[in-house]
């Protein structure tokens, strides 16, 4: 993995943040293009066809949809290009909107350069990246207790998935989660990807509410 570098497009409307991020990313990552608006982002992603797009949730331009609109504009590329959302916002609707649009992860901008590089590598490998806050949000949205009886398998977390989410919310890295639960890191990644899929496809009321409010459904 370390030999080949990962092509990344950085999309953020703040030039200071973009240059800071570029300086922070380590040698595994190769920034091929930058963009500051919805339109330029879609154009840059189409021409550079990167493996990963680091995408700010709030962007000017387009019809006001921000990062989610960029993903929607590149919907046909989702198989080869993966999106990692970056934001300063903690607001649940921001998280839900961009994840349901198709992002493979959500991290806050206070994350360190090494952590974000790891996250990019992980997303490039097809895995999901959850911050503690996103994990906390998932637990909140899917109900913190296991007693909730929901018919649809998509609307419910398995006991194992819930355990993984709780540990991530408590600040554990994937490696630490694996050690804690006596499973492999690969299994942790499988669980997290399954949760991401549920987060994207579930029709639970808590999840659809924001999407409906933003006319994404």
């Amino acid at each position: 993995m370390a030999a080949e570098s990962i092509d990344v497009v950085v999309v953020d409307d703040h030039a200071i943040f973009r240059s800071g991020l570029k300086a922070d990313l380590d040698a595994r990552i190769n920034v091929v293009a930058e963009a500051a608006t919805v339109e330029s982002a879609v154009a840059a992603i189409r021409s550079a066809s990167p493996q990963v797009v680091l995408l700010d949730v709030h962007l000017p331009g387009g019809s006001g949809g921000g990062g989610a609109e960029v993903i929607a504009g590149c919907a046909d590329l989702l198989a080869s290009t993966r999106f990692l959302a970056l934001s300063v916002s903690d607001a649940a609707e921001d998280v839900v909107t961009v994840i349901r649009a198709g992002a493979r992860g959500y991290v806050t901008k206070t994350i360190s350069g090494a952590e974000i590089s790891d996250a990019v590598v992980r997303v490039a490998g097809g895995d999901a990246v959850f911050s503690p806050r996103l994990a906390g949000f998932v637990l909140d949205a899917f109900g913190a207790s296991t007693t909730v009886s929901v018919d649809d398998e998509l609307d419910r977390l398995s006991v194992r998935e819930r355990e993984v989410m709780r540990l991530i919310a408590r600040g554990y890295s994937y490696k630490e989660v694996a050690r804690e639960l006596f499973i492999s890191v690969k299994t942790v990644e499988t669980h997290v990807s399954a949760v991401l899929r549920k987060l994207q496809l579930s029709s639970r009321h808590e999840l659809t509410r924001w999407a409906a409010a933003r006319r994404l459904l």
């Binding site: 006001g64 916002s89 903690d90 607001a91 609707e93 206070t110 503690p132 806050r133 994990a135 906390g136 637990l139 909140d140 913190a144 207790s145 709780r166 919310a169 408590r170 600040g171 554990y172 630490e176 409010a213």
Partner: protein, 424 residues
């Protein structure tokens, strides 16, 4: 589900028929034909059309109304900017003369049909006054769709003047028309009819004023919403000045001290975040709020970031206050001895509240702590036990995690308080 009944922007007269067609899922032509047929049957279609014209909002108005309750200040701000751009670019034109002419023709036709149905001989003398009345009414009614929102927000009077002019012209035309009707048949045996005609004049005035009143009310609402947005924007500017600009100035002054700058930036971030994203519906006084306050205290005291994640919520009670105090002690321990990033996680279930405080320090041996050190033994373990909860400590060379659990069931409350009383 049917699409909502709205008057779309693409319209022939007022968009009533095309709106109905979309709502009922029928071709617009069929709806229009039906409306004309209804209009020919004693003018019912005209009445229905007018009524729908007043009651059914345009798509534009509906969109504006939907925007009235935004979730947060930040969103509101964004929406304010967006709307400013829209109203600058999309100042909708006044109603075209083509529409007035069509409306006039329709009303005239309906009036003729009504007269015929009443058995009156159709003659020019009668048609002319009715045509005048119809012209006046159409002139007044066309105000219903004139988009004056942009003008009102900007405080300009041009559109308002136009509206008044149209209102006056409409009134004059209608009254003149009715006078013509009366003067055309000024004999004793039609005195009754004449008094009826005066009533009709009043009805005509009401006909003219009704859409104006509706229009005025809608404009008033739009203006009020605009004013609220303006106030909010001023509030945002004031807040940014008091908080962010002051902090930036302080950071510039203390650029030499990294720890100090980090502390300032972190405190400012927390404050701004609270202001921008706090959900006013959730209210304060919950366990999560109390823990957030404690985390802020630790950040301010030591400058180590505390990453707080809360799942679920619970009311702050005597018992859960003890949980907060124990968590505070654990956070201070972590910040003091381990440093670096600290994770704080709260989970409130129906039966219990759990708190995890995790640091990434070198760990320690709980048994090696001297008896006289009260931090861990008294403030955390002892306090949790007194309130019927538990505290567990897991420590390793890669970090320490303190797990606090407290049952939340109401039945446990008296027992817990009793234990507390025994201890004090």
């Amino acid at each position: 589900m049917r699409p909502p009944l709205l008057r779309p922007p693409e319209k022939v007269v007022a968009g009533v028929c095309s709106g109905l067609a979309v709502h009922l899922g029928m071709p617009a032509g069929t709806v229009r034909l039906l409306m004309v047929v209804l209009a020919l049957v004693g003018g019912a279609g005209v009445v229905l059309y007018g009524w729908l014209w007043i009651m059914v909002p345009t798509a534009e108005e509906q969109a504006a109304a939907g925007d009235r309750n935004p979730r947060s200040v930040a969103e509101n701000f964004a929406r304010y900017l967006q709307q400013g751009q829209q109203s600058r670019t999309g100042a909708a034109g006044l109603i075209g003369s083509r529409e007035i002419l069509i409306g006039l023709a329709l009303l005239g036709l309906a009036a003729t049909v009504v007269a015929q149905a009443l058995g009156a001989q159709i003659n020019l003398q009668l048609i002319f006054p009715f045509a005048v009345i119809a012209a006046g009414a159409v002139l007044a009614w066309s105000q219903l769709d004139a988009s004056r929102k942009a003008g009102l927000v900007a405080g300009a009077g041009a559109d308002r003047k136009m509206g008044l002019l149209r209102l006056a012209a409409g009134l004059v035309l209608v009254i003149a028309g009715f006078l013509l009707v009366v003067s055309g048949s000024i004999t004793w045996d039609v005195l009754l009819a004449a008094s009826l005609a005066s009533l009709a004049v009043l009805a005509g005035i009401a006909l003219v004023l009704a859409p104006w009143a509706v229009r005025w009310w809608r404009a008033f609402q739009a203006e009020r919403a605009g004013r609220i947005r303006q106030t909010e924007r001023a509030e945002i500017a004031a807040h940014l000045h008091d908080s962010v600009l002051q902090t930036l100035a302080m950071i510039q002054n203390r650029a030499g001290s990294e720890a100090e700058v980090i502390k300032l930036a972190r405190a400012q971030e927390r404050e701004l975040r609270q202001w921008l994203y706090a959900d006013p519906e959730k209210g304060t006084g919950t366990l999560a709020d109390a823990l957030k306050g404690v985390a802020a205290e630790v950040e301010d005291a030591y400058g180590h970031p505390v990453d707080f994640v809360a799942v679920g919520t619970a009311e702050l009670t005597v018992q859960s206050s003890a949980l907060v105090q124990a968590a505070r002690a654990a956070l201070f321990n972590a910040a003091q001895h381990a440093g670096g990033q600290i994770s704080l996680y709260l989970e409130c279930g129906p039966e219990a509240a759990e708190v995890f405080v995790r640091d990434r320090g070198a760990g320690f041996d709980p048994d090696a702590i001297p008896q006289d050190r009260l931090g861990l033994r008294e403030s955390i373990i002892g306090r949790m036990q007194r309130h019927g909860g538990t505290a567990r400590i897991r420590t390793s060379p890669t970090g320490t995690e303190i797990h606090l659990a407290l049952p939340l069931a109401g039945a446990d409350a008296p027992a817990g308080q009793q234990k507390e009383a025994e201890n004090t």
